[in-house]
Amino acid sequence: MTEVRKGLIAKRYATERRFRIYGATALALTALFIVFLLADIVIKGLPAFTEPRVKLDVTGAADKVDAAKPAAGDYEAIVREALRARFPTVSGRAERRKLNGLLSQGAADDLRRMVVADPALIGKTFPFAALLSDDADLFYKGRQTGVALTKGATSLQFAESGEAYVITGDVAGLSPGQIVLVNEGALRITGIANGAAQAEALARPVTLNPAAAGGWNIMTLAKPEADRRISDQEIIWLEELKSEGVVEKAFATRFFTSGDSREPELAGLRGALVGSLLTVLVALALSIPLGVAAAIYLEEFAAKNRLTDIIEVNINNLAAVPSIIFGLLGLAMFLSFFGLPRSAPLVGGLVLALLVLPTIIIAARAALKAVPPSIKEAALGVGASHQQAVFHHVLPLALPGILTGIILGLARAFGETAPLLMIGMVAFIVDIPKGFESAATVLPVQIFLWSDLPEIAFQSKTAAAIMVLLAVLFSLNAVAIYLRRRFERRW
């Protein structure tokens, strides 16, 4: 073999290797995308499954709660008082309001439920875990600002000058905006001049004793106060609660048990889940009988003629029509022409039923086709009528395949969003839907709604809702795969 030829073969083999690498790269990129997508969602969403609560000793004082009517008590005041008791130095209306703002509105409702369930608590002092606001929540999850604590390396003296404080000593290491934690107080540096630092109190120190090196701390907040939704003052309070060990992180069952809310820490998925369930129920109740019957007719009974051809082409086309067009159909037909109620699971289910109908028909036909003709012929041979042969012998054998198709259709219906926007299932609905005609929203639409909201806390909620949606869909797919493996039969 000449050198030229050897070179040519080497080149061809190199091309071969390259081509193979292209293919592997394409698959790797796709896999990477999926991993990146899922990791992103999980990292964003996981924090939303926990909620921080502060353990308070609340007193169900008789002047705030009437033992005869425990539901009407002023629980907001009770919780606020209990929190204020932890911060005796806080005074003034503005400061108090800020302190109250750390609590969620849901805390009072939780307490009400607790007392109504156990009226014996009235007049007693008992422990209660109060839900914190979404800003406090985000702070504890590290989403507001980075917090760095360093030990003070020098010795400082403190003096009061009116409302403010003056720090003297070696203040060269301090800069405005930093917070000096000393003598159980917190002083924010406002300016440094002539070897002394001016400071304002975020929490008044108990004494003015001088602090030696290592006897005080500097807190540095990564994000300036103007750029975050939580003030230095609130951070000091939250840090104090944390250092006292009264903040607990609990699983947010509320995320699954309550409806939508404008407050991120109170918003839950129950309404959307119930809405999804009702909608999908309607969709399945219609599309399964219709789809399976149509598949049986087309596969087993239909004569091969033009009409059958038209129906077949029609179904294939329908499978490729964009889902938003089905929304237009629902709006023009079901809402405007038939006058069915807006935002109702009934209408959503009707639209989704038509949407998944082609999927189910195509899957069911494939399953029926896979049953060998000998089964049917044997039945006909012993005297069964055509329908008896189909319904008693072919259909039962095709059932696992049909079921797989139904589950895939169900998954499609469960994740569909666009057509439901058209028929008004996008409203902000707090109540859990009561029936097929009450206003409701569904899980994917809830995700869409939350993703549009400006609060950062809702971003996390959205990702958590996506995790729930994907969990449902993946388990549906897993069931379909299991069915396929378990009942797959080679004839």
Binding site: Y13, E16, F19, R20, G23, A24, A26, L27, L29, T30, A31, F33, L37, D40, I41, K44, L290, A293, A294, I296, Y297, F301, N314, N317, L318, A320, V321, P322, S323, I324, I325, G327, L328, L329, L331, A332, S336, F337, L354, L357, I361, Q387, A411, F414, G415, T417, A418, L421, M422, V426, P444, I447, F448, S451, Q459, T462, A463, I466, L470, L473
Partner: protein, 392 residues
């Protein structure tokens, strides 16, 4: 009322089934004439008659009095009872109950198949009707050739051009991503991957296909778009926060599984003898794929691309969440553009008045979309039919 009507009719049907079955069983006496049909079929026949009666009377009542009226269940009950009373005496040993019941079943099956056709007719009617109303108010020439789309401003202008350009731009980006990725994935899976690898890779791609588009939209809007914007600005480009690129990229990833699974099937359908022939001539695997397998599979692959394009054009949620609302006539992938589906969704969310051109324009857009996707599907089908190689 409807739920009650259905329940009532079901109870009556079960009653009729039992009555018919009992009566037919009673006809079976030793030495008497044999029954033509089994007692079960007599019961089913009576039940099907009762259901037909209930449905016909119930529908008539709905047309006359509306769905909420108490007359609906009443009429259904009367219809059911009437049908039952009329048919009950016909049960006799020579009565061909099975044949009649099977005819009923066949009619039901035909009706069910007709629903698919009715759906298409319903879509065409609802879209075309509103579109005609729209074109009475806005001239079709303005709709097709005006370069400005601002349905909410006064005076409103309805030029579809910016939407069309935006849709095609995003679709183009999506195909640019999904075409190579999907096709190369399919080739690797069909020709190189071992059986075990396939069993891992195929479910992975199916998983991607099963992810709802609202999830991809969230990812595009909150992760991909800021990423593109950040990296674009770090090299000194101005990137809109809702760029066509972000929406197009994620949409491309969405249609990778579509292209790869369709192409995979098509490549697998190319007979092994063609490959063997090529190998026998000394060709390497990649040469065989590029010069023999792909040309043979080309019509199918083209039709897979057509279906992918049609999917991308009709996709809504990704673009609603990640592309903008501003109808810019631009082909800059870093600018914000809007698409047909985004406009339909935003025009129709909330309360609609069916006489304003704003609402009606959404139906006109829907009509355009419907025609587009239908045409693409038709072309895809024709290509496969026309250029299909007959191997056997």
């Amino acid at each position: 009322m409807l739920v009650w009507t259905v329940l009532l009719a079901s109870v009556l049907a079960v009653g009729a089934f039992l009555a018919g079955q009992t009566r037919a069983s009673a006809l079976r006496v030793a030495g008497g004439p044999a029954l033509h049909s089994l007692p079960t079929y007599h019961g089913l026949f009576l039940a099907s008659g009762v259901i037909t009666g209930a449905v016909v009377a119930g529908l008539a009542a709905i047309l006359l009095f509306g769905t909420q009226s108490i007359a609906v269940p009443a009429a259904a009950a009367i219809g059911a009872a009437g049908a039952g009373a009329a048919l009950y005496p016909r049960i006799a040993s020579a009565f061909r109950a099975r044949n009649l019941f099977e005819r009923f079943v066949l009619a039901v099956l035909v009706l069910c198949s007709a629903v698919a056709v009715l759906t298409t007719i319903g879509i065409v009617f609802s879209v075309v009707f509103e579109t005609i109303v729209f074109f009475r108010q806005v001239s079709p020439l303005e709709f097709l050739f005006s370069a400005q789309w601002s349905p909410t401003s006064t005076p409103a202008s309805f030029g579809i051009l910016p939407l069309l350009v935006g849709t095609l731009l995003i679709t183009f980006i999506a195909i640019l991503v999904a075409g190579p990725l999907g096709l190369l994935s399919a080739i690797y899976m069909a020709e190189y991957a071992s059986g075990r690898m396939r069993s891992v890779l195929k479910p992975l791609l199916e998983m991607l296909a099963g992810i709802p588009t609202v999830v991809l939209g969230f990812f595009a809007a909150l992760t991909v778009a800021p990423l593109i914007r950040g990296s674009g600005e770090s090299i000194g480009l101005t990137v809109a926060s809702e760029s066509a690129l972000a929406a197009g990229l994620v949409m491309g990833m969405m249609i990778v599984p579509l292209i790869s699974s369709l192409s995979d099937d098509i490549i697998n359908a190319v007979p092994q003898s063609l490959r063997d022939g090529s190998y026998a001539m000394g060709a390497t695997k990649s040469e065989t794929i590029k010069r023999v397998v792909l040309p043979a599979a080309l019509p199918g692959i083209v039709s897979a691309f057509m279906l992918a394009i049609s999917r991308a054009i009709g996709e809504t949620m990704i673009v609603v969440m990640a592309a903008g609302l501003a109808a810019n006539l631009s082909i800059n992938p870093l600018a914000a553009v809007t698409t047909i589906t985004v406009q339909i969704a935003t025009l129709l969310v909330g309360d609609q008045e069916f006489d304003s051109p704003k609402t009606l324009s959404a139906f006109a857009l829907g009509f355009v979309l419907f025609i587009f996707t239908l045409a693409l599907n038709y072309i895809a089908l024709r290509i496969v039919q026309k250029y299909r190689e007959q191997y056997d």
